[in-house]
């Protein structure tokens, strides 16, 4: 493509079927304790 550069393709919808194991870190435990951010957490399956 000349006009568009895709940085990240679709990833979320697939995870609706495969996700939800709950083994990942609780977001508030990592550093914040006051300002919830979830997208910077890692998935334990990968």
């Amino acid at each position: 493509m000349k006009h568009v550069k895709t940085i990240n393709a679709a990833t979320l919808k697939k995870s609706l079927a495969n996700g939800g194991c709950g083994e990942c870190q609780t977001s508030c435990q990592s550093a914040c304790k006051t300002s919830c951010t979830v997208a910077n957490q890692s998935c334990e399956k990968k």
């Binding site: 568009v4 393709a9 990942c24 919830c36 997208a39 910077n40």
Partner: protein
């Protein structure tokens, strides 16, 4: 739903429902605004003063291709899925308030300088062990369990921390669970002995420092009023080095008294710290240092300039991690986690020195949120379900927000503090979070 914005001359278009992120040139970026309401011919005509017809035509075709591949204007398939969620609540993380006392009297402390509004008390080992038993019992099939040693100041009661860790290690072998411990400390009492234990057992260490000496000492001081910067800095540096500059955070708070907080972040980076988190204060309205709506413009500029410097330093091998700029687009959390958020009140609970259970550390002290006690059989599962049902679609503001799958609905405690409802997010927190996500995505486009 899409979100488009320009930062540092980069045009970014995010497709919210698929998670796709694109960089558009100027023509494509303009076309997106007209794409859903006008025909291709009308768009070529409308943009003829700015771009050649062929360029608009080509860019239009690329947008059609993205849409057909589900990478732009993709459908929301989650709101219906959420309605059918019937999951048994599971507890997988505890915040243990090892000590409701502190050797500091920080001005902005949300925990009433350690006491959480009550008496200054210490958790005993028996209560800590019962908390471990409680966690194992309520964790069902989850293997990875987390325990954060929190305060007040947990190093004031470190012998109990050690006893709890030792006990959990025994229970770990018996049950097949995997405990990950973290500790949050102001570093005043850090010494070689406790450092060795921490490095052996703690998966992560959160070390409190706000940045520049004047920033830190204005808010963080001892009972006698003396600032902490000079005495903690060598300890923090040694701790960071002893962990190979990984699996720790120096963690600061900014207030409206240091709206130029990017200087504090860069000061910590200049000191050699590689894992940094500096976050907005959670303070009551009119405390004097609470973040207000009129501060947002400056704070947005701070985040944007920090992002620029962050990229520059990364390219010059002087890079560091800033917690709120870290985003994993490819291997981040699944949508299930993103819908539900931090897990407070159901997956994540706080335990007071007396063993009382609360939805999270920020609800501690508010009696109406007490969910039970680790010494007794009673545990309020209705409350747990109430928190579990809270998700980005149960919050009207979130369901309409482009950032919902990045912040996952924000902090329930902040929402309650400002709006008396865990489902009505704290507006200023939202605005700051959205800016941080924009910066984090922009940083990704520069890699």
């Amino acid at each position: 739903m899409i979100h488009k914005y320009t930062m540092h001359n980069t045009n970014i278009v995010m497709d919210i429902n698929s998670g796709a992120v694109h960089v558009f040139d100027a023509a494509a970026f303009d076309i997106v605004d007209l794409y859903k309401t006008q025909t291709k011919g009308q768009i070529i005509e409308a943009l003829s003063q700015k771009y050649e017809g062929q360029a608009v035509s080509d860019a239009y075709d690329e947008i059609v291709e993205l849409e057909s591949e589900g990478l732009l204007f993709s459908e929301d398939v989650y709101s219906e899925a959420v309605k059918n969620w019937e999951r048994k609540p599971v507890v997988k993380a505890l915040c243990l308030h090892i000590c409701h006392d502190c050797n500091l009297r920080c001005r902005y402390c949300f925990a009433s300088t350690g006491s959480f509004g009550g008496h200054r008390t210490m958790m005993d080992a028996d209560t800590g062990k019962r908390a471990i038993d409680f966690l194992i019992e309520k964790s069902a099939g989850r293997r990875n369990l987390e325990v954060d040693f929190f305060g007040g100041e947990p190093l004031m009661n470190f012998d109990v921390v050690k006893q709890i860790v030792d006990y959990a290690r025994i229970r770990e072998k018996e049950t097949g669970k995997n405990f990950r411990f973290t500790i949050t400390t102001n570093a005043i009492l850090l010494n070689e002995d406790n450092k060795e234990f921490i490095n052996k057992h703690m998966h992560n260490v959160v070390l409190s420092i706000d940045g520049r000496k004047e920033t830190n000492d204005r808010m963080r001081f001892r009972v006698d009023g003396s600032g902490t910067y000079d005495s903690i800095l060598p300890k923090l540096k040694a701790m960071a080095e002893s962990r190979n500059q990984d699996n720790y955070y120096v963690r600061g708070t900014f207030t409206r008294e240091n709206l130029d907080f990017s200087k504090d972040v860069l000061h910590l980076a200049d000191l050699g710290f590689k894992q940094i988190s500096v976050e907005p204060v959670v303070a009551a309205k009119d405390s004097g240092y609470d973040i207000r709506e009129q501060d947002l413009k400056q704070l947005f500029e701070e985040y944007e300039s920090l992002a620029e410097e962050y990229v520059k330093r990364g390219r010059n091998e002087e890079g560091f991690n800033f917690f709120h700029f870290m985003i994993d687009l490819k291997q981040g959390p699944c949508i299930i986690k993103r819908l539900g958020g931090c897990g407070s009140g159901h997956e994540y609970l706080a335990v007071t020195p007396e063993g009382d259970l609360y939805p999270c550390h920020q609800f501690v002290g508010d009696e109406k949120f007490k969910m039970g006690n680790v010494h007794g059989a009673e545990f309020n599962t209705e409350f747990q379900k109430h928190f579990q049902k809270s998700n980005v679609y149960s919050k009207k503001d979130c369901s309409e927000c482009w950032a919902k799958f990045y912040c996952s609905g924000g902090c329930a405690a902040n929402a309650y503090q400002f709006n008396n409802d865990i489902n009505v997010p704290y507006k200023i927190g939202c605005e700051l979070e959205k800016k941080r996500v924009e910066c984090a995505i922009w940083i990704k486009t520069q890699e």
